[in-house]
Symmetry: C2
Subunit: 213 residues, 2 copies
């Protein structure tokens, strides 16, 4: 089966957002050129990315906005309702609990910590539970995705606990490279690494490679 670069999926997210803006403003047709302009890539790149999933455009006619929007949304699995839990309810975890409680398509159903002073605290839609409850909660509440916001030293162990409990995806905010079975998808959302990359490219602007498909 074809392998798809991470960068393609990131761009699919960007195309989808551009299509959502177009649909909201009543626009019904678009082109690879317009999608390219809106997302800062080339029209060739747009066509190449969409070709991974079958061709949706007609030469000289382009794309129907709501059709392509629906297709990309389905490809990304955004049609379903994912159930999330946050592990690590410190400052960042609490901020994210508040944030995710308001996002469409995601249902925040659990928040866990080891700090006894946090247990029982209400944050947004959650009451913080002890991390010992995690294995049972993942099963009972059918939690699909774990948001990992524990310190670096606890990251690997906590990720393994989530994987063993049956979570299939982890959004990892901890500054740690997780080693998990391939059956668990991991996305790094570690923005301190982003800040380090930023400082590198600020000091060495000419070293930057264009994002390739």
């Amino acid at each position: 089966m074809a392998k798809i670069p991470d960068a393609t999926i990131t761009r699919i997210v960007h195309y989808l957002r551009a299509l959502e803006r177009m649909e909201k403003s009543g626009q019904t047709r678009t082109s690879s050129e317009e999608l390219a302009r809106e997302t800062g890539v080339t029209a060739f790149q747009v066509r190449k990315d969409l070709a991974y999933f079958g061709s949706y455009g007609t030469r000289g006619v382009g794309y129907t906005v709501p059709v392509l929007r629906r297709e990309l949304s389905q490809i990304l699995g955004l049609g379903r309702r994912w159930r999330l839990a946050i592990v690590g309810m410190g400052r960042l975890g609490q901020a994210l609990a508040d944030f995710y409680a308001w996002q469409d398509g995601y249902e925040l159903v659990g928040g866990f910590d080891i700090d006894s002073e946090l247990i029982g605290k209400k944050v947004g839609p959650l009451v913080i539970e002890p991390v010992e409850n995690l294995p049972r909660s993942v099963k009972e509440k059918q939690i699909d995705i774990g948001i990992l916001t524990v310190p670096e030293t606890a990251a690997q162990q906590t990720a393994e606990m989530l994987a063993e409990a049956g979570v299939r995806g982890i959004l990892n905010f901890a500054p740690a490279v997780l080693k998990l079975p391939e059956s668990v998808a991991v996305e790094n959302a570690d923005f301190m690494a982003g800040l380090s990359r930023l400082s590198f490219f600020m000091l060495n602007p000419s070293w930057r490679e264009e994002m390739m498909g």
Copy 2:
């Protein structure tokens, strides 16, 4: 000049963290094999990544932990003290203000918003200022990096304001693709896109490509 893949810089951040852990525990020597194990890549990849910056290892002997740690830290520009401002002091901005106030190597010197109810509010080390102050503040406080946490609709315009004021790097949490002059480095820290990628790879695990150098 050689172009360096983003993925290499991300791995340099991971190598650096592994080296910091080793140094803290008193370990003085390491190898590409050990760095590979610690960061989930191959030893070949480690050597290839480090080769971009000149060779630091000795065949059969490996690397001196504190030397390589210092070199990588310098490469990433982490030796200097960057001055940060957050634009968009809503929930996420306030959480990040609290977070960045405690990070080594970064000095949080400004927080801006358009909401008059937020102006003057104290958050961590900051007093929130009106966004009109931004151009003057960037110059007076010599702000290097802007953390962008405004809504999607305000992202492009606010990023341009930061660029015009003289900011050289933007860590972009807004769900928008910024179009800026090449002289401004941008890193996306948009974790909702990460969640979309996660849901794609949870539904299509066999489509995932290995991260390539």
